[in-house]
């Protein structure tokens, strides 16, 4: 039976390592996504070694030291060297991994989007069970919104205040349209419950909460159409709450922008 356990553990370990080595990730379309992928691959490699060592050793020890006639068990009950050694090794391994990852986290999150004029600013609003994308228009400013004005049936799903001049040129879109290669700042809001803005190809996810704004920024380099889904349980239509991210070449984006401004 010890042999069966050893074989099962080893086969399971091999299968796990093999399966994790397959490419499960969707394509990556931003430098941030590539950075997240390389962190993930590195972590999987390091932890994979620990995983294989531990499981293989477990299987081997169980088989090697199974009860047999004429063997006596060792009575050693501890070793300070082993304890402190494993503390030290685990500390170096895990805290080192953390420090290494912290660098890229800080680089991306400790600074907001650049203040340059060519940054695209979009306000993304989650509502049970759809997304709205608002562009500030040529004036570069979002108009004020009022909860009591929210009414999709009169074409004002975000409750944009008609008395605020900044809002008159705001454009509300059902898809997130951005130019390739330019930085985009997304301001996330929610009208009712918590939603989460998730674009797998950007490796990016951020909750949208009622009553507060959260911000993320990204630069999609590869033109194409991608999907935006909701990642925070928001009610019975949670799984249907998706929208499109359209990354357009610069010229096409300019045309789209001009079309909306009319």
């Amino acid at each position: 039976m010890a042999l069966a356990l050893l074989l099962l553990l080893w086969v399971m370990t091999l299968a796990t390592a093999f399966l994790f080595a397959q490419s499960w990730l969707p394509s990556a379309i931003s430098s941030g996504a590539l950075r997240a992928d390389s962190h993930l691959q590195l972590s999987l490699a390091i932890l994979g070694v620990v995983f294989v060592l531990a499981q293989v050793l477990l299987g081997w020890v169980v088989w090697r030291h199974r009860e047999r006639d004429g063997t006596a068990s060792d009575t050693r009950s501890g070793s300070m060297a082993l304890e402190w050694g494993s503390v030290g090794l685990a500390a170096v391994l895990f805290l080192g991994m953390n420090l290494y990852a912290a660098k890229s986290w800080a680089k991306h999150s400790f600074v907001g989007a650049s203040r340059a004029a060519d940054v695209i600013r979009v306000e993304v609003t989650g509502q049970q069970f759809r997304w709205y994308f608002r562009y500030p228009g040529p004036d570069g400013h979002f108009g004020a919104t009022k909860p009591e004005l929210i009414d999709a049936s009169v074409g004002n799903p975000l409750g944009i205040d008609p008395d605020d001049a900044a809002g008159t040129d705001d454009r509300v879109s059902a898809a997130l349209v951005v130019p390739a290669g330019r930085e985009v700042e997304v301001v996330l809001r929610a009208q009712d419950v918590i939603h989460s803005f998730f674009v797998p190809e950007l490796r990016m996810k951020q909750d949208a909460l009622p009553g507060m704004e959260t911000r993320i920024h990204f630069r999609a380099d590869k033109a194409g159409e991608y999907e935006i889904v909701c990642a925070e349980l928001c009610g019975q239509g949670h799984h249907q709450m998706n929208a499109r991210l359209k990354v357009l070449p610069e010229g096409e984006f300019a045309r789209w922008q001009a079309g909306g401004a009319q």
Partner: protein, 563 residues
């Protein structure tokens, strides 16, 4: 309950003996069977969910077709039952009560009546929580985490009315019962140990129950407070968790000034220690059983004690890692990420010590030992995905995907359940009237469950890496990129059906052995701790808990009470 004079000698009535007993063994058995009922309900719910995930059109007998809202209600109940009434109740309350007083030579818990009260409140809590499945509007659909405003504003979904109220009341009662239980455990360990049972002679099972009780006391009091605030928000016009300007279905809600993040902070301040409440008793038991069946002292006893305390302590400092994408400051995120990595250190120490305990032992592969070895394997597998999720850069992608579902089902689900199985097989003489479970069927149960656990939960990592969000009722009707993942989801469902089917072997073995199992000797596993010694002997403890391996008088162990 009819009040009766308290007298140990008086012949007790049936009610008093079996139902409202203050005997800790009876209370332990009651907890065990309560969590057995809860696990069966939770398991059936998971089966319905898995079938719906793979074949959304299927009509089930009695239930008909599962709708997305039903799926979310079952999911909420599955999580709630498994976390509270199985993983909190079975390892700590059931086996702790059953064994701890004997293991420290106390003979009883410090507050026997409070103990009975604690069980009966838990039973009431269970009935209240489960009753939500039978009310017309259905159970809550907002998950066991109950994030507001979804859990506060009734018009956000069908189950968000009475369903959430029953959840809050049931969990509130559960919290209170857990606090009583925790006080009892702490007082018993600190005040009732036999002569000579110093803290550093205590079995590691006792250490982990002791530390778990302290976590329970601190964590559940916070959840109780948070649940009360949630109730106030729903019914008393307060606004702790809901800000101004919330509009549901075109109706502006009358709330102002609250923060949904406040709930998340309070909930996870409870929720993360809760993970350790579920797993620490399993870790203690695993150390105990590996030593017992390797016929070798626990390797690094004091390192095990201190790592248990370290895991408990750091467990309170890492709640923010559940909120990396919730809108925390990126600086706070970094601090929580670092503290989370710190937890990996004592966990690593434990794993090294488990392997070192097995090293050069004389390993007897009994059923409880097989489940303990399975625990180590699952603990490693489930534990190592932790440092991946602990890195915010990666978590921004994997958060709220099936990768997380895989992670916590491997470690908090399967590893903890393996410890519960090990405890059931090992302490069955205490659970039954001195009988043992069938070893042969126990082994069959182990092999099928071990393979089933990996077959079910390992592929969920890949669903997560492919970007499959969790808590999706079905793939049909959701994003296009998920459609290709249906075959993998179907695989998981098939594996889960196999895993669930294997549990009937356990159930049959359990109920058959209760009446017809082999009668156990006084000390059937040749163990050292006090629960296995004949009850008549005077209790003085002369040695530590793990004196195995030195053969004298034809025995390779010394009981703690031997001079």
């Amino acid at each position: 309950m009819t009040p009766q004079p308290v007298s140990a000698a008086a012949p007790a009535g049936v009610l008093r003996r079996y139902l409202f007993s203050t005997d800790h063994r009876t209370v332990g058995r009651q907890y065990f069977f309560l969590s057995l009922i809860a696990v069966l309900v939770g398991m059936v719910l998971s089966l319905i969910m898995r079938v719906h995930m793979a074949w959304p059109e299927v009509r089930l007998p009695f239930l008909g077709q599962t709708l997305p809202e039903d799926y979310l209600a079952y999911m909420t109940m599955h999580g709630t039952l498994m976390v509270f009434f199985v993983l909190t109740t079975a390892p700590q309350s059931a086996f702790g009560n059953l064994v701890l007083p004997e293991q420290i030579g106390a003979g009883r818990m410090a507050f026997p009546r409070m103990n009975a009260l604690s069980f009966w409140l838990t039973a009431v809590a269970f009935v209240v929580v489960v009753s939500a499945l039978f009310v017309p509007s259905g159970a809550s659909q907002s998950g066991w985490t109950q994030y507001p405003p979804l859990s506060v504003v009734r018009s956000t979904g069908a189950g968000q009315g009475l369903g959430v109220d029953l959840w809050i009341v049931g969990i509130g009662i559960f919290c209170f019962a857990s606090l009583l239980g925790a006080i009892n455990f702490i007082a018993t360990v600190l005040r009732m140990r036999a002569l000579g049972m110093s803290l550093m002679r205590m079995p590691l099972t006792v250490w982990s129950w002791f530390v778990t009780a302290q976590l329970t006391l601190l964590a559940f009091s916070v959840l109780l407070a948070a649940a009360l605030l949630l109730f106030f928000d729903r019914h008393m016009g307060t606004s702790f968790f809901v800000p101004a300007g919330v509009v549901v279905n075109g109706v502006v809600q009358k709330y102002a000034g609250g923060s949904p993040l406040l709930w998340q902070h309070l909930f996870w301040f409870f929720g993360h220690p809760e993970v350790y409440i579920a797993i620490l008793p399993g870790m203690g038991l695993t150390s105990h059983l590996l030593s017992t069946f390797a016929r070798k002292p626990v390797f690094g006893y004091s390192a095990m004690v201190f790592s248990t305390m370290a895991i408990g302590f750091f467990g309170f400092l890492v709640w923010g890692h559940h909120m990396f994408i919730a809108g925390l400051s990126p600086y706070a995120t970094l601090a929580f990420a670092t503290l989370t990595m710190v937890v990996a250190i004592p966990s690593g120490v434990k794993t090294v010590n488990w392997l070192a305990t097995l090293w050069r032992g004389r390993i007897r592969l009994t059923t409880p030992m097989l489940f303990s070895i399975g625990f180590v394997s699952l603990f490693v597998t489930g534990g190592l995905s932790g440092p991946i999720l602990a890195q915010p850069t990666i978590d921004a992608y994997l958060h709220d995907t099936y990768f997380v579902v895989a992670h916590f089902h491997m470690i908090m689900g399967m590893a903890a359940v393996f410890a519960i199985f090990a405890a059931t097989y090992f302490w069955f003489p205490k659970l039954s009237a001195g009988r043992l479970m069938s070893e042969r069927w126990g082994r069959v149960h182990f092999w099928l469950t071990f393979i089933g656990a990996y077959a079910t939960f390992l592929p969920m990592h890949f669903l997560g890496m492919a970007g499959h969000p969790r808590r999706y009722a079905q793939i049909a009707g959701s994003a296009e990129y998920l459609q290709g993942l249906l075959p993998l989801q179907t695989w998981v469902t098939c594996a889960a059906i196999g895993l669930i089917a294997a549990q009937f072997i356990f159930l049959a073995n359990l109920f058959w052995s209760l009446r017809r199992g082999c009668v156990a000797e006084t000390n059937p596993w040749n163990a050292t701790t006090l629960e296995w010694q004949p009850p008549s002997e005077a209790l003085v403890v002369y040695r530590g808990a793990y004196e195995y391996g030195v053969v004298r008088d034809g025995r390779d162990y010394r009981m703690q009470s031997e001079e």
